[in-house]
Amino acid sequence: MTRPAMTRPAAETDDPTPSLAQQERMVEAILFASDRPMALRELADRLPAGCDPAQALDGLRQTYAGRGVALERIGEGYAFRTASDLSFLMQAETVEQRRLSRAAVETLAIIAYHQPVTRAEIEEIRGVAVSRGTLDQLIEMEWVRIGRRRMTPGRPATFVVTEAFLDHFGLESARDLPGLAELRAAGLLESRPPSPAAHAPLALGDEDDDMAAAEPAHPAFKDD
């Protein structure tokens, strides 16, 4: 469906001057893809020989009259801009992209792999205390929510990941998170220490645990 009806092979640049309709298409594409307004001169340089960008621009201006996008003259150049009466549609919030702190990423990873998991368990795995702010942030981002209470002394709350989390990370379910062995195989883990033999048993045990953790139930964390 995406292919324009008037398609012409690129080789035709050697042909006699393109038709005015074709010239319009060309100017349209150039202005669309350009990251700044283009002057007549620049357009002429980019078009095949014999083209008249001024005439093409006139045609384009008429084509776009009354549309959602307008061809505007800006200084010496030309550019497409959203029609001014539709600017209310462009009120996208400016989104400031910031990276999550390491503590937050680690905490999130632990929750994703071990959910439902208590705060104490997170701290045990990370080896450091989890600050209140880190969990609050993840909850506020709606990537983590509070799950059932664990039926153990103190009835601690558990944490689980949300649909929004799965959505953001393109996962069908938290069970689709790859295990350590897969991470290593995909080259996502640093290579192992120089004496693999000495560490092999440890590593194996580790991966086993990990794979087990990906299974629905891992007894240590069982909830009900």
Partner: protein
């Protein structure tokens, strides 16, 4: 990787044209060996020399080509990856099966089925390569098609969107889970009696050892049975006794080779520096 010996032809002899063509083909294979991405890739290249539809290749001929190729390479003492040798072994097996009459008793797959599967694998690989080529030749974004060069958004509000990719997440988890693997090497001391322990123990015993005492009699409880623990305790206690003797706090004697080693405290000295 390496060149074939046929690379430098005998200067005095000009081989007939057919020979040259064949030799060039051979050389191409040899020289490019490093470029092969595994046995299947090599087989596919060999299959192409048969110049027929992949579904109609002669697998027997292909097996022979492969085996002689591998022979040739090995004659040059090129180290062949195990994959290539495994494939060679399998092809040799297939070849023998193809040449022998089928064994009606056997419930193994027939040689024809095996050959057909190999041909299928080659065809499938070739098809994926062709597909990859078609894919890369499409009008790709940023090459043949372009997005809006200057996307517009009007700033009204600020909102922070926290960025983290799946890779970050997985790496963080991997970092945590593998942390223990990278701890410094620590010797398991469960069955080791250290010299420090032995020194402590001997120092306390000296006071009571006015008479010659057998070192073997002062090993700590739990370390006197035979085995690694006893050996460790004996060695440590012996070393500790040497240290105390050096300090002049005890005397040691041994009547004969392999005789018991005895010690006693030196009565006239109290606490040397």
């Amino acid at each position: 990787m390496t060149r074939s010996p046929t690379d430098s032809p005998h200067p005095c002899r000009t081989p007939p044209d057919g020979d040259i063509a064949r030799r060039r083909a051979d050389e191409a294979l040899i020289v490019e060996l490093e470029g092969y991405e595994g046995p299947l890739d090599l087989l596919l290249t060999l299959a192409r020399t048969q110049k027929v539809d992949l579904m109609r290749i002669s697998v027997l001929q292909l097996a022979e080509q492969y085996l002689s190729f591998v022979e040739q390479v090995r004659a040059l003492r090129i180290e062949l990856a195990a994959d290539y040798l495994v494939m060679a072994a399998w092809l040799a097996f297939l070849k023998s099966r193809l040449l022998l009459p089928p064994d009606p008793e056997s419930d193994e797959p027939s040689a024809e089925d095996m050959a057909a599967h190999l041909a299928f694998q080659l065809e499938r690989l070739a098809a994926m390569r062709q597909a990859a080529g078609q894919l890369m030749a499409r009008d790709r974004l940023g090459i043949g098609r372009f997005a809006r060069g200057r996307p517009e958004t009007v700033a009204r509000r600020r909102r922070t969107e926290w960025q983290a990719g799946l890779i970050d997440l997985m790496r963080a988890y991997a970092r945590l889970k593998t942390r223990d693997e990278f701890r410094p090497y620590a010797f398991d001391r469960h069955d080791v009696f250290t010299m420090e322990q032995a020194l402590d123990r001997l120092r306390r015993l000296i006071g009571f050892a006015g008479d010659w005492t057998d070192l073997a009699d002062v090993l700590p409880d739990g370390w006197v049975e035979q085995g690694a623990r006893r050996r460790s305790a004996t060695a440590a206690t012996f070393a500790a006794s040497l240290e105390l003797a050096r300090q002049g706090r005890i005397e040691i004697r041994q009547a004969d080779a392999f005789a018991p080693i005895r010690f006693r405290s030196k009565p006239d000295l109290t606490d040397p520096p």
